[in-house]
Structure formats: C-alpha cells, structure tokens
Amino acid sequence: MRGLRWVNRTGRRAAALRLGPGLGLCLALAWALGLGGCASPGTTRVQIEDYQEIAAKMSLSLRDAPAVVGRSPSSPQWVVSMAGLENRSTEVLTEAERWYVLAKVRAAQPIDALWDDRRIRFVIPPERRSLLRQSQPEEFATDDFGGALGPDRGVTHTLDATLRTVTRAQDRHRTDLFLIEFQLLDLRSGEPVWLDRFEFKRAAAGFLWD
C-alpha cells in the first residue's frame, strides 16, 4: 500500500551556509517569498486514514442497525462473507486497497464484539488473507480474519461495498467527494438487512501536471 509522504526539507541546509549580512538578508527574503508562494504538494487520492475513519463510522452504524440490535447471543449464527470494495470511482485501487477497508471494518472493536453479543461473524475470504498480510504486515500479521471457514462455509450474508466519486477541478484546485456504500445482504431472502453510506472529501491545490 502507498506510504509516500512528501516533506519539504528546505529548512535544513540554510543553517550550514555562512553568508554576509546583506546576502543573507536577501536569501532569507527570497526563501520566505518562495515558500510563501508555493503550496505543499497534495493529492486527493484516498489515503489509509480515510479508510480507517470510514471503517470506524461504518462499524458503529452496523452495530446499531435494527436488524442487528434485535439479535442476542442465542440467535442463529450469521456468517458474513465480505466481498471486496467495488470501485465505481475514477480512482484506481490496488488489489490490496480493495480489501483494506473491509479488513479494517472486520477488525474494528464494535464489529469484533458482535460475535459474542449478537452471534455475527465477519470473515474475509481465505484467498485474500495472504494479500492483506503481505501488504500491511504490521496490521494483519496476527489477524485471523474471522477464523476458518468450514467446507460448507456456512455463509448466510454478504457485505458489499462500493466506492464512488465526483470530482470538481479548476485551475490549481481539485476536490474529490468520495462515497462508500455498504450493504449487508441476506443470502436466503436476497434482501438487504442493512445499508448505509459514508462520505468524505479530499482537496488539493497545485497543478496536476507539475
């Protein structure tokens, strides 16, 4: 997963220069002007923190959903298979990103607690687990992703997620509105038992070509 962070390091070398007072004054002035006139580089691409924030909100919403609140530790077990994030946005996602947000949802405390309180278990398909462990080993190295699934899998529900965007761009400025829709689908009835959506914006300034 991406981890690039661009830091303006221009401040570090100035102290090493030994300049006359006049030249030093001009340098300082030019430096200040230069820095003041240039925004730091930015991107509207979705960051890990965005996914983490959405996962936290979503897990609370799902925990408080009527279909979930009405359940108890003695209710029949739900096994929710998490499908990857379907990308209907204009933002390219890697295969790891497609699963990251759902892995974060599954690992969120309110969701994790649903097994004991509501008999609901969320599982990541086995074929995706190694992908997540490789992409974010520090986060998922010890995660069992909901445990093992038996041969019959016993899946009763699926959790689908879709990412959409609207972009506004003009000159140096670009704003992307991201929308992630979640839907918990009962496989027996084919009906959604919960759905919600969450929005966030990202804005950046600067010429895209520069």
Binding site: P21, G34, R45, T90, T94, V166, T167, D210
Partner: protein, 443 residues
C-alpha cells in the same frame, strides 16, 4: 563586494538544477521480445531515493517492462507508485525558487502528457489483467481527464459525447460545485454519483476503448456506448472493434503493443530544444489474431505513440517545467546578487552589472541543457482485439500483416463462459519475433 567564491557557488547551484542521468534503452532485447531481460536490466536501475528526479520515470519504465514480461504483480506495484505521484498536485511547485537556494532544484520527472496518459492506462491494463474491470474503468477515466487538466480547460468540448440526453450525467463545467451539480440532476446526488463522469475531448483512443469495454463489463451500458462512440469519433477505423465490444461478442480482450516508442532528442542551438523522433516507424499494418492456426480477425491500430509524441497537445510539459525552473532561478539569482551588492556596497551600477551578468550566465547555462529524460520502453503502437477463445489453453497467436517477423504466442488466455465477463490479456509483439518461440507461428 561580492566574493568570487559566492559567485562560483551561485553558478554551481544553477548548474545543479538540470542534472540529466544517462539512460540505456535495451533496444535489442525489446526488438527480440526478450522481456525478462529487459525487466532485469531496468529493474536494476530503479532508485529508491524519493527525491530523485527519476523516481517516477524509473518506476514507469520498470512497470512497463514487468508487464511485458508477464510479471503482473510487480507491474501493479510499480504503476501504483507512478500513479500516486502523477496524482500529486504541485509536486514540483516548491522546487522552483526556494529549493534552488538550497541546491535542490532538480525537478521530479512527471513526463509529457502522453507519457502520463500511457502510464495511467498501463496501470489500468495491469489491473484488467488481474481481472479488475472496475479499475480499468477508473484508470481509463483518469487517462482521459488528464488531457483536460493539461489543457487548462474546464469544460467539455461541444463535439465530445454528451450522454446526458439518455439519462447520464456529464459535468459540463468543472467550475460547477458539487452541490449545484447534485441539485441540477433529476435524481440528486445519487444520480450524479452513479453516472458521474466527464467525457472530454481527448483523442486518446486507447483510453476511450478501454473505458467503453470496462463500462460494459460492469453493466454500465449507456456509459460504455458513449465512450465507444467517442473512440470511433476520433478514429472511424475503430468502428468494427467498437461494435464487437458493444455487442459483447468476445470473451477475451487482447491489448497488444508493438515496436518501440519514439526517442526524445535534443536539437537546435546548444541542443536546447527537444523533440520526439520515431524509432519504430508508424504504419497501418493490421493485427492478425489466430486461434489454433485459424485467423479469427484483423484489427486496426488503435493508438500511434509516434503521432501522440509529435502532437503539441501531448508533448510540451517538460519544456514548460524546465522553463519555469529557469525563470525561477534567473529571478532568484538576479535579485539576490543585485540586492546584496546594493546593500553592502551602496553601488547601484555594480548591482546592475552583476545582475545582468548572472542573468545572462543563468540563461545560457540552463538553455544549453535540454532535458531528454523520457520513458523509452513504451510500444510504438497499440491494438485492441476482442476475440472469442473457444476453450482453455487454446493456441492464440498474434502477428502483424506484412511484417513476417512480428509475431508472438499470447500464452494462456482465460476463456470465461458467456455471461461471466471477459478477460483482459496484454502482450507485446516483438519487431523481430521471439528469441525463443514456443512453437512455430501459424502460417
């Protein structure tokens, strides 16, 4: 009086702004289809220094080489990093005036518009090979958006496809706020979200075709038709390909590269200007696809990279960036020297003379070094061939008509059954045939 040491330091600092690292193009290997060797070679040149001017370029080259070699996972990683930086706005904005003072004036290479569009398209193709049509759609859209961004225009052209008439939304003016766009839509924000795309007047036919195919694979029929129509509007020869894609009469979409893209050359006074010169000549040779020795179709050139590279809309940005850097340097040094002398010596004439001298020196120094860094691994042209593979492991060959040594076995082509979508397959036809072909080509 300003010291000679300071002047020397200033001069060296100006020079430091235009470092060009030599690049070895593995031409022989590319011509002969030795893509593993190409990948090994360019992979060894990848710098991990994020401040390196070549950070993006190295990854773009290696991503292309990895995909050519069939290393899809590796290609995804490289293209993801390329895409991340191409999507970063103003990456070089603070590398003009301020950073030159501190001898960090080396601009991050982001490539010409056509290199950026191809880089993003390659990311989409890679994700398509991995079975992700939604990301093909996203990347294609991004590659088409870029031309608009470069042109600095916010509105779609009058002859660009406008699917709004049949229920789809085009944001016709990017100055529209999200709120107003949503209010204007019959279905509110949901409708904008569901169909929200901008069909721009770009002639990037590869992006249009891939977008059209991806949209249709995702069930977005009107959107898919609009993008296919845009492709045929740019190049009517693509009508047959677009029709096959629109009707879904295929289970494998071959994206085929051929040849070596144009080389960037310095020319003119003191080699201060640049241009792209063809390496593999342009041509109209059809792509012939054979399955089990039987010809199943002939397909026209979708994209000629030589033509893109010679089109001013696609190739002016590195010069612009360079000019911007030079102007920044000139302004900075002129101001610094003149100001320093004026303050320290109270000598106005000296300030003018020194400033003028440094100005001339800076211009001469900078203009004598045209930047010729470019992505040298792109194919010269692309084909798109929607074909039907009858069974797993069918023997699929591609070749170019009239070029007897330009052929390649495609390898394993997945053949999803009807109703299960199509696979996307990428291959690159070598100019002089495989070095070690697995089988003899079909006659």
């Amino acid at each position: 009086m300003i010291s000679r040491g300071v002047l020397l330091w200033l001069g060296l600092s100006v020079s430091a702004g235009c470092v060009t690292t030599s690049m070895q193009t593995p031409t022989v290997e590319l011509h002969h289809g030795a893509y593993e060797r190409v990948y090994d070679r360019v992979g060894d040149e990848v710098s991990d220094d994020r401040g390196s001017r070549r950070y993006v370029l190295d990854r773009l080259r290696t991503g292309v080489a990895a995909l050519d070699a069939g290393r899809v996972g590796a290609a995804e990683g490289y293209f993801d990093q390329v895409y991340d930086l191409l999507r970063t706005q103003g990456l070089n904005a603070d590398r003009t005036v301020a950073s030159v003072v501190l001898t960090e004036g080396v601009k991050i290479w982001k490539g010409e518009p056509f290199e950026q569009a191809l880089g993003i398209a390659y990311f989409g193709i890679t994700r398509g090979v991995q079975g992700s049509w939604d990301n093909v759609r996203a990347a294609s859209a991004a590659s088409l958006f870029y031309l608009r961004d470069f042109a600095g225009k916010s509105s779609a052209s009058s002859d660009a496809p406008r699917p709004g008439a049949d229920g789809y939304w085009t944001i016709q003016d990017a100055s529209l706020g999200l709120t107003s766009a949503a209010q204007d839509a019959d279905g509110g924000l949901d409708e904008v979200m569901a169909g929200g795309y901008v069909a721009e007047r770009s002639d990037f036919t590869l992006g249009y075709l891939l977008h059209g195919a991806a949209s249709l694979q995702l069930g977005e029929r009107a959107e898919g038709r609009a993008y296919l129509a845009a492709a045929t509007a740019v190049d009517p020869r693509l009508r047959s390909v677009a029709r096959t894609i629109e009707r879904g009469q295929y289970n494998a979409l071959l994206v085929v590269g051929y040849g070596i893209g144009p080389v960037k050359q310095a020319y003119g006074p003191a080699e201060s200007l640049t241009r792209f010169a063809p390496m593999t000549p342009s041509g109209d040779q059809m792509l012939v696809v054979e399955v089990d020795g039987r010809e199943v179709g002939r397909y026209p050139v979708v994209l000629d990279v030589n033509r893109m590279a010679s089109d001013h809309r696609w190739n002016s940005l590195e010069d612009v960036r360079q000019a911007k850097a030079v102007l920044g340097e000139v302004a900075l040094y002129t101001g610094l020297v003149a100001g320093a002398i004026a303050i320290e010596n109270r000598d106005e004439n000296a300030a003018i003379v020194a400033g003028a001298a440094l100005l001339t020196s800076a211009i001469m120094t900078a203009s004598a070094r045209a930047d010729v860094a470019y992505c040298d691994l792109f194919p010269q042209r692309f084909y798109v061939a929607p074909i039907t593979v009858p069974y797993p492991g069918a023997n699929v060959w591609v070749r170019l008509s009239g070029l007897p040594r330009a052929y390649r076995e495609v390898g394993v082509v997945p053949n999803p059954p009807p109703g299960y979508g199509a696979s996307l397959v990428y291959t690159r036809v070598p100019t002089f045939g495989d070095l070690a072909p697995k089988k003899t080509p079909a006659p």
